[in-house]
């Protein structure tokens, strides 16, 4: 609110329409203010406890499609509906404070809170997919997050990419890679790896659970 530009139906009709669509699909009828701010981040951020906000980096409006906005809004609405914003704020605050305050308790909490944050991302991805109901667009978004240039997104076969990831998890890379993987995913990584997100969403989609949920709520 202090820095960003508030987005409304009059100044950002397409973005607002994507937001309204996600709200309707996920049955979330609570007022939320949208604010756009300058940043080169790939995701929206949900905030608030009694009053809700969604922060939208300006780069996401330029780089992503309306369907992908719906996915990102779906993630935020999932976080708000699940009251996850308080926990996410707490996790971030504890993590930040351990850099400069001698909070030994905080340091003990960092690892499990970090784990929860990473796992929470998988829940948000599911909510986002349900909001937009376009598996290919979501996979393209995850391709972008993992480094694919925007101009090449349409030329990448998303299913091939998932096959590659599945194949790579079956390869035996040795103890160094295992230790590195555990270190990054358990102790220090702030975000879930895009590889894990791909796999999780793929498995959820392929298992039929996603389709069942959509059928039941249509």
């Amino acid at each position: 609110m202090g820095t960003g530009i508030q987005l409304t139906l009059s100044n950002a009709p397409k973005v607002y329409a994507a937001f309204e669509h996600a709200k309707e699909v996920l049955d979330f009828d609570v007022p939320v203010d949208l604010y756009c701010y300058r940043a080169y981040d790939p995701a929206f951020q949900a905030y608030g406890t009694d009053r809700y906000f969604i922060g939208i980096p300006d780069s996401t409006i330029r780089m992503f499609t309306p369907t992908q906005w719906q996915f990102l809004f779906g993630q935020c609405i999932t976080a708000l509906k699940g009251k996850m914003t308080e926990m996410l704020s707490l996790a971030n605050a504890i993590e930040y404070s351990t850099h400069f305050l001698p909070l030994e308790t905080g340091k003990v909490l960092v690892a499990p809170l970090g784990q929860w944050k990473r796992k929470a991302q998988l829940t948000l991805d599911r909510g986002g997919l349900l909001a937009c109901q376009d598996y290919d667009e979501v996979m393209r978004y995850l391709n972008w997050v993992s480094g694919v240039p925007a101009r090449d997104l349409d030329s990448i076969d998303v299913y091939n990419r998932v096959e590659e990831i599945i194949q790579s998890t079956k390869e035996d890379k040795g103890i160094a890679d295992t230790v590195g993987h555990v270190k990054n995913t358990v102790f220090s990584a702030r975000n879930m790896s895009s590889r894990e997100r791909f796999l999780e969403l793929y498995n959820w989609y392929e298992s039929g659970t996603y389709a069942k949920i959509v059928r039941e709520h249509t």
């Binding site: 202090g2 820095t3 960003g4 530009i5 987005l7 100044n11 950002a12 300058r38 300006d58 409006i61």
Partner: protein, 263 residues
Amino acid sequence: MKTITTEYFLHPGDEAAIQAIRKIPGFEKLLDYISKNSYEKVDLVQRTCCSLQLTENNAPKIIQMYARIGKAFGLEETPKVFLRRSYAMHNEVVGIHSPCILISSSVLASMNKEELETFLVADIAGFVAGHGTYAFIRRLISEFGGFLPVPREVLEIFLTAMNAWAKQRYYTYDRARMLYSDNYELVMRLIGFGEAPKEIMAKTDLDARIEQARSFSQMTGLQSSLKTASVLTKDKPWNAMRLAEMYNWVESGIYADIKEELQ
């Protein structure tokens, strides 16, 4: 028009923050130490080695803009200008003895001529107000404090004071822009420029932004504390505060009086 000197555009908060920094015990010694030990030269090489210097040959329009602005602010010679690749929507004035301007590529890419010239006023205003010194020391302490012969606790005091000043300087820049351009709508538009894509900014009503700024500045209790705490370590103030500050400066009639005095 008379020369626009610092007395006309230096914000009282900016001036007070600078005085507070200078009163910290050891500040003059630190400044002396930095000056004598070539930190500035090293920093200049680091900041500009990957940057293109903008000159009359390769960027005549930008250099001419700076020359016009410099003339209005009483400068016979404008500082060197370097271009850096950045997503940030702000430029920097750095250096103590040989300040230079670092322009962000995003600033050049996003603005039309009128917007750009008014935006660049902040760089000259900062140069004239001696901001290069404080910007340089702030950066030095933030990034290389461990190498300075100063206890960490003392450096934290400096950094806190520097961050407080870093936020206040934007109010100075907004006033300088207003005095140079005499275009309230443009100056307000430049506050928060780039926070949203152009097509959205074009449809965003100024009155709505001022109302948003008003609501923000009237926050009380825990929200107000969080509002203050969350920018303690930042070097930019809330855009809402800048909008409110400029609105009040103009509405109060102070700007009109200064403008009349400058004629």
